[in-house]
């Protein structure tokens, strides 16, 4: 009986049953009505040893074509940036890895201080004054922002740009009926949002959400969009790429009240879409409407600095049905990876990384020499016309060992020939040349 994860011996069990005053394990379950007891073993695959499990899962892993096995230009929300070794070294420390949420501050100063530092880094990136300890991902934090804005403004509508990541928009729409919110999408014009259209859609809206750089990789006229939103009395919400914020202006510096985003690119591996983290930051007057954990600084009775979970009266375990959110477990370890990564980069590294991305996109334009889908400047993704089905081109290019990008027609009817190509510092100029060569062959 038992696995290597169980420590009780037969003798232990007998002694324990005696101490409890029962004669068998079955007696411990006497309170379960007989007709509800499962009278058979679970129909699960036979128990396996560690060696066998490793063999079995390694075989499954090897059936996947990961980014090390093809030259990949996939992005569209999740990016193959380099994850430095120090990140894995830190997040595999068992004191971080195996801890629960820091309910007992005296035993959790490590995690609490790290979250405080994380909050600061997120505020610095976004130009905001308060950040929470993380949300599930870049999509759910958008729903969180809607909930905050609905309560802050008392309005019942959300305006969201069509150039926001489709998955983010889908999650907002899934949450909206429960919040009693109507969602209006603002169509793009030439790959970006027209501020006048954004202003019109923001009338009566609690929040107006745009993405910078947007899903097409284009730079929006973000300050104009923020002005349009706030001009209509809505909270301006920017969904941003954290790694763009060395070269692109911070949302808090051009009039947004809330900044959100997907943190994956900062120190988290692709992992087939998760776990990653979402970040959410805001101006200070919104602190009591924020969902999730917030860490604050305080002192102990000897005057030493320490950190605690704070403003907990917003939260579900205190406020129950009147809470700002139901969130408890968030993405601490992924956010910690984000903190370590951004600390590894530092200010100069972040700026240099951003310049590398824009430079690579420039090279991409030159090397591919394909008609651009949109005229607006790009950060690290470029949408190009292929003149034929992008899905077909992807399949043909993959046969030559290159995954050339994401077909935008999957989400945008009418864009069936548009390919979204992403670069990161892991793609070299030689890689881009190879992409151009393969696309040239496929399109010839």
């Amino acid at each position: 009986m038992g696995t290597g994860y169980l420590a009780l011996t037969d003798a232990d069990r007998e002694a324990m049953l005696r101490a409890i005053g029962v004669s068998s394990l079955e007696e411990l379950f006497a309170d379960i009505p007989e007709q509800l007891r499962l009278e058979r073993e679970l129909a699960l695959a036979p128990a396996a040893s560690e060696v066998e499990i490793e063999r079995e899962l390694t075989a499954l892993a090897e059936r996947n074509v990961h980014v090390g096995r093809e030259l990949s230009f996939l992005g569209a929300g999740v990016y193959d940036h380099y994850v430095p070794a120090i990140v894995e070294a830190v997040i595999s420390r068992p004191e971080f890895l195996t801890a629960y949420t820091p309910y007992q501050p005296e035993l959790s100063q490590g995690v609490l201080q790290a979250i405080f530092e994380y909050q600061t880094v997120i505020c610095e990136l976004t130009g905001m004054e308060v950040a929470n300890a993380s949300g599930y991902d870049g999509a759910t934090v958008a729903a969180d922002a809607c909930f905050m804005a609905a309560h802050a403004t008392g309005r019942g509508k959300i305006a969201i740009a069509e150039t926001v990541n489709p998955q983010v928009r889908q999650v907002v729409k899934t949450y909206a009926p429960g919040f009693g919110l109507e969602v209006v999408e603002v169509p793009h014009s030439g790959g970006v949002i027209d501020p006048a259209a954004f202003l019109a859609a923001s009338q009566g809206a609690a929040a107006a959400i745009f993405q910078q750089p947007n899903f097409f990789g284009c730079l929006e006229q973000a300050p104009d969009l923020a002005r349009a939103a706030t001009g209509a009395g809505a909270l301006a919400v920017a969904h941003v790429d954290p790694l763009s914020l060395g070269v692109l202006e911070a949302p808090g510096n051009y009039g947004c009240q809330i900044a959100i985003g997907e943190g994956q690119a900062a120190g988290n591996r692709l992992s087939f879409g998760g776990p990653h983290f979402g970040f959410l930051a805001a101006k200070k007057d919104l602190i009591r409407r924020m969902p999730g954990r917030i860490v604050g600084e305080t002192t102990d009775r000897r005057g030493r600095r320490g950190f605690v979970l704070t403003f907990q009266t917003r939260e579900q375990h205190i406020r129950r049905e009147k809470a700002t959110s139901n969130i408890t477990t968030n993405q601490s370890l992924c956010a910690l990876a984000g903190l370590v990564y951004l600390s590894w980069l530092g200010s100069n590294g972040l700026c240099k990384l951003g310049e590398t991305c824009t430079g690579l996109v420039e090279l991409l334009k030159k090397e591919l020499d394909l008609p651009l889908a949109f005229a607006a400047p790009s950060f690290k993704e470029l949408a190009v016309h292929l003149g034929r089905s992008a899905e077909e081109v992807v399949r043909e290019a993959k046969k030559k060992g290159v995954n050339p990008g994401y077909p935008l027609g999957r989400d945008y009817p009418g864009m069936e020939d548009v390919l979204l190509v992403a670069v990161t510092e892991k793609r070299s100029p030689a890689d881009i040349e190879r992409l151009a060569e393969v696309l040239g062959e496929v399109l010839a």
């Binding site: 324990m16 990961h66 308060v130 998955q167």
Partner: protein
């Protein structure tokens, strides 16, 4: 007195011009961001060389306590050992470096793993079908209630069915999820045995009831003895039953929520299935449902095609939509699946050991701490420090803090709310008898100290990096980020 040194904030260790990173240098064409969109002033990220980065986070790790540091009987959180094999497997390049937009035909191994996990969870829950998408337990709850909502909307009953019944012992997430999904909360009481109060329940269940949200065993660690009658009551009223899987560790392979009459279940893979909690996530909160609710599950669904291959299926017009990006926290699925493979059909041995450990602690502690509901427990139980409070002015908080001096993480305290000065204790199955005995010794010793030297408890903990912290001051001062411009503290 503790001799911990303060670890400066990473910003206080920062010096302009230092940098840990090394990035490739490419010869690239010049690209400029339009001036009105360009960053005017760079964000002040920490500037450290890598050795100091390593020391900083090492110092922070040392100031934290995990399951590997010692016993962690935090009630309802199921702090069991996190097998290291699973970390290694989730980090395999074929999983960790797989892009979620990869074509399904080039991600068959990952999709198959998801499919196998779905099948295993369906079998464990006794329900028909599973979505892995929700990111955590509370999102699983919310997803479950969205499914209930969609189900009644489809039947034209949503206007009528506004209420979700939640017992007073429930986790705070339950009522919060009720509000977020647009329902109204209908609380019900707990009876003298710690079960749902059937009289109260009969009074509140009616044509306006949408669902019951129940944790079974409850947060008191007690199996709901009247569950068959409770399920009948709700189903006869046309309502659904929702199972909060936070306490599933008590009953795996022993009794299945689907067999109990539940229609929707959420799992906490980071509790029952051993995936590490990471200091507050990532978790994973898959949901399982009865066939009647399947049309409403989140998309994309992961399905097996006729050719035996695995595919993404979005063709569910009644779906609630997406609750999170992509397919869910895949890396967590790898770990949970590997864990289930270790036990296989004998998964009940896990729950049996968890329940045995809890009952052993209960039997050896109930003479020194009050026990409100004196029954056999399941995977956890709730003691009360109310007597210590009356007689010696010692609170549950004092007991919790003193446990730290014994190298033990405290139980969950002041929850559930129906027990005053609550100490909610969940040992899990992975603890040895010696560890359980040392906890018993510590708890009994603390009860003695409460009478003989209460100041030891009031002043605890004694050897941690900080003593008790002023939480009211934290709210008042509202310092939630580092303010630049302050001088760095003196070293040492």
């Amino acid at each position: 007195m503790s001799d911990w040194r303060e670890e400066p904030l990473i910003f206080e260790r920062s010096r302009p011009g230092r940098c840990a990173c090394s990035l490739p240098h490419y010869e690239l064409p010049k690209a400029t961001v339009p001036t009105d969109l360009a960053r005017a002033e760079a964000p002040r990220l920490p500037e450290l060389a890598e050795p100091d980065l390593a020391r900083h986070f090492s110092a922070l790790a040392e100031r934290n306590f995990g399951v590997d540091s010692g016993f962690y009987p935090l009630g309802s959180c199921t702090m069991k050992y996190n097998p290291r094999l699973n970390e290694r497997l989730a980090a395999l390049p074929g999983f960790a470096d797989l892009h979620p937009h990869q074509l399904p035909e080039d991600a068959q191994g990952a999709l198959e793993l998801c499919f196998l996990l779905q099948e295993a969870l369906a079998e464990i829950s006794g329900l028909d079908t599973v979505s892995l998408q929700p990111a955590a337990g509370s999102q699983g709850e919310l997803t479950g209630l969205m499914l209930v909502r969609a189900y009644f909307q489809d039947r034209g009953e949503l206007e009528q069915r506004r209420k979700v019944v939640v017992p007073d012992t429930a986790h705070g997430t339950n009522p919060a999820s009720v509000t977020m999904s647009g329902f109204e909360l209908q609380p019900v009481k707990t009876d003298a045995r710690g079960n749902l109060d059937l009289e109260d329940l009969r009074r509140v269940v009616g044509p306006d009831t949408a669902a019951l949200m129940l944790t079974n065993p409850s947060t008191l660690g007690l199996f709901e003895e009247g569950i068959v009658e409770v399920a009948r009551l709700f189903h006869e009223a046309g309502a659904l039953l929702y199972y909060d899987g936070a306490n599933l560790n008590a009953v795996c392979g022993i009794s299945r929520p689907g067999d109990m009459g539940f229609d929707v279940v959420h799992f906490n893979l980071h509790k029952t299935f051993s995936t590490p909690h990471g200091g507050g996530g990532p978790g994973a909160g898959p949901v399982a449902v009865r066939r009647a609710l399947e049309p409403f599950l989140p998309v994309p669904r992961i399905v097996r095609g006729k050719d035996g291959g695995f595919a993404l299926d979005c063709d569910w017009p009644k779906s609630i939509g997406r609750v999170r990006g992509f397919f869910g926290p895949f890396g967590v699925f790898v770990k949970a699946y590997a864990f289930i493979r270790v036990y296989g059909p004998a998964l009940r041995e896990m729950s049996e050991a968890a329940v045995l450990n809890a009952n052993y602690l209960l039997a050896r502690l109930k003479d020194v701490y009050e026990l409100r509901y004196d029954r056999l427990c399941k995977h956890e139980f709730v003691l009360s420090a109310a007597q210590l409070k009356r007689e010696h002015g010692i609170s549950a908080l004092d007991v919790a803090k003193r446990l730290m001096d014994y190298g033990i993480h405290p139980p969950t305290i002041y929850f559930p709310l129906v027990v005053p000065e609550a100490l909610m204790i969940e040992p899990t199955e992975t603890e040895s008898l010696e560890t359980l005995d040392s906890f018993i010794d510590a708890m009994r010793q603390i009860a003695t100290e409460a009478a003989e030297s209460p100041e030891l408890l009031h002043e605890a903990p004694h050897d941690r990096p900080v003593e008790r912290l002023d939480e009211a001051a934290a709210v008042k001062r509202a310092i939630v980020r580092y303010e630049f411009g302050e001088s760095a503290p003196e070293p040492g």
